[in-house]
């Protein structure tokens, strides 16, 4: 038996009032920690997919939409741009490297992207099984796609037109799986990637349905008088300084649109940051209420227990030991509230991430403790100390002789 054990016994002796304070704290800490986790995970995920892309060029429209579609692959593209115009930009001396990407089809809801091979290098994609594509209609499949759809090497995938599952299906659009990619924790995990040529071919065929006998070589010849299109181009500058003037030049002087991902994403965060802020104020309020409930519990139980406090003193315990016991009781509750709150938020993150994976093929699953959560621990301890301070001081100043004489 010791003072610490006694504190715990006292907590369990009053299960109802203890669990109310605890529940409030778990809720408050849980919500804040959940918000912090989600915010960080989404930001990390977004930044992870952003590396190496300074600017995106695509058709005119919403810049945010352009970024979401061509960097994060979660929105529809703004439209197509002509390959020739894109080439002009990629030849500009300020451009370090550029990657052209095209959309057109999907396979069971997963997007098929036509892209240059640099696209896979950009996301550090590594082939786990099979080989790179050599011919049109050969595809590499991202890890989440083959895990979810149980696709194996050599399978044939019949694509549908558009980016949603419901699109019209091309009988001609049969892709052959030649390689599977290792999980890279980036967007390519949920993409099916092929050469730009495949996408051009499939839509040429589609557009000229009446001339069904035409073969591929004739198509390639057609491209000589170039009317080919791409969806967007991902650009990295030679010098970071170019990010200021080059996008404006494009937007003012061409009928293309240039968008800067880092700028658009921070704008997006500002938008839903407001909601997060409101919710976290609410959660801080809950934590403060839990502090009050803790204080009231301790204060009441101290009154009920004044004879046993007096007894403990007559047994020879010092004032200090008794006050420590009160503070302990409070701290045990707040610290376990903090731990349960973190568990609560981790389950919350897993739940949200399973929801998000369903809808936008994203996965958020790192459960490390954030720096802000250490602050939350500090806050919990502070609440524990502050709410037990007055009861502890009262116990310290208790007149045992008077209490015993009144008995």
């Amino acid at each position: 038996m010791n003072i610490f054990k006694l504190s715990i016994k006292n907590i369990f002796n009053k299960p109802l009032s203890s669990s109310i304070s605890l529940a409030l704290l778990v809720l408050g800490v849980g919500i804040i920690s959940l918000l912090l986790q989600l915010n960080t995970l989404i930001k990390d995920q977004m930044d992870n997919n952003l590396r190496g892309i300074d600017m995106v060029v695509g058709a005119k429209g919403s810049p945010l939409q352009l970024i979401l579609s061509s960097v994060y692959h979660i929105d529809s593209p703004t439209g197509n741009i002509s390959l020739a115009e894109a080439e002009t930009i990629s030849n500009n001396r300020m451009v370090g490297s550029s990657i052209k990407i095209l959309y057109g089809d999907n396979y069971k809801g997963f997007r098929i992207v036509g892209a240059e091979k640099k696209f896979i290098e950009l996301y550090k994609g590594v082939i786990k099984e099979g080989k790179d594509w050599d011919n049109p209609y050969e595809v590499l499949v991202g890890s989440k796609v083959y895990e979810k759809l149980k696709i194996n090497l050599g399978d044939e995938l019949i694509s549908s037109h558009g980016l949603r599952e419901t699109g019209q299906s091309h009988d001609e659009g049969t892709f052959k799986v030649v390689g599977l990619l290792k999980p890279s924790n980036s967007v390519i995990d949920q993409l099916i990637i092929t050469s730009p040529q495949s996408v051009w071919d499939i839509h040429e065929t589609h557009d000229h349905d009446e001339h069904e006998n035409e073969n591929e070589h004739e198509h390639e010849n057609e491209h000589e008088h170039d009317n080919r299109e791409i969806t967007a181009m991902l650009i990295k500058f030679k010098s970071p300084m170019n990010i200021i003037q080059f996008p404006r030049q494009i937007n003012e002087n061409t009928n293309l649109q240039a968008a800067v991902p880092s700028y658009e994403i921070s704008r997006l965060f500002k938008l839903f940051g407001f909601g997060i802020e409101t919710l976290s104020y609410l959660a801080y309020l809950i934590i403060i209420v839990s502090g009050f409930s803790l204080f009231i519990n301790l204060f009441n139980s101290m009154r009920e227990r004044k004879y046993e406090m007096a007894l403990i003193r007559t047994l020879g315990a010092s004032r200090f030991q008794l006050s420590t016991m009160i503070i302990f009781e409070s701290l045990v509750l707040t610290i376990s509230g903090f731990i349960l709150g973190l568990l609560f938020s981790r389950f919350g993150v897993m739940f949200v991430s399973s929801l998000m994976e369903e809808s936008i093929n994203y996965n958020l699953n790192s459960l490390k403790i954030l720096n802000e959560e250490y602050w939350l621990l500090g806050l919990s301890v502070l609440i524990g100390v502050v709410s037990s301070l007055i009861p502890a001081i009262q116990v310290y100043k208790m007149n045992i002789s008077k209490i015993l004489a009144d008995a």
């Binding site: 038996m1 006694l6 227990r305 020879g316 004032r319 004489a405």
Partner: protein, 207 residues
């Protein structure tokens, strides 16, 4: 062993008590008897170091209580004095055994065999793991005696241990207290208004 001289105490200048001198040798038990309102409980609290007198001297085991700090008094109490209260008090969240372990912990002791032997001696060993609010009145009284003697005090102070008991039980409890004191080598001071106890003590003073 106990020597008091001209002890005076007043509560907020309203009630004033002046106590007669006490001189008690080692190996003697003492009955202090007095009507309600003469300051019995006050005297007991003074002897236990729970209160400090305004003037006079209380010398217990050759230590002057009036000269000790509150912290020294706590420490003196846990090493030398066991108290039996008029109404038994316990830590309600703990079992009988845990209450006794807590008392030992406070006095920096840890001796489960002593707890067992005390509980057996008091015939409440089978209640060891019961919460204190599940005990009968008589059992509670015996547990409070166990709490008073668990740390082997040299002096047991009992405040009205028999006031609410019938003759039969009164005699049982006082015999039990005297036996425990003798068994565990402690002196006993009983403070009461209960004149039935006179016949059990050789030495008594009247307030």
């Amino acid at each position: 062993m106990l020597k008091t001289k001209e002890v005076e105490f007043n509560y907020d200048n309203q009630m004033f008590f002046k106590f007669q001198n006490i001189d008690l040798n080692s190996n003697e038990n003492l009955l202090i008897i007095g009507e309600s309102g003469v300051g019995k409980t006050t005297l007991m609290h003074l002897l236990a170091g729970l209160l400090k007198s305004n003037s006079g001297s209380i010398k217990l085991f050759d230590k002057e209580l009036n000269q000790m700090s509150s912290y020294q008094l706590d420490s003196f109490r846990k090493n030398n004095i066991g108290i039996v209260f008029q109404r038994p008090h316990f830590v309600n969240s703990l079992t009988v055994k845990e209450n006794l372990q807590l008392a030992q912990y406070i006095a920096n002791k840890n001796d489960n065999t002593r707890i067992e032997s005390i509980l057996k001696n008091l015939n409440i060993f089978e209640k060891s793991n019961k919460k204190t609010n599940q005990l009968s009145q008589g059992e509670k009284q015996r547990v409070s005696i166990a709490l008073a003697i668990v740390n082997s005090p040299k002096l047991i102070l009992a405040d009205e241990p028999t006031s609410s008991l019938d003759d039969n039980n009164c005699s049982k409890v006082i015999k039990l207290l005297k036996k425990q004191a003798t068994d565990f080598g402690a002196q006993l001071i009983v403070i009461t208004h209960d004149s039935r106890l006179k016949k059990h003590f050789k030495k008594s003073i009247e307030l």
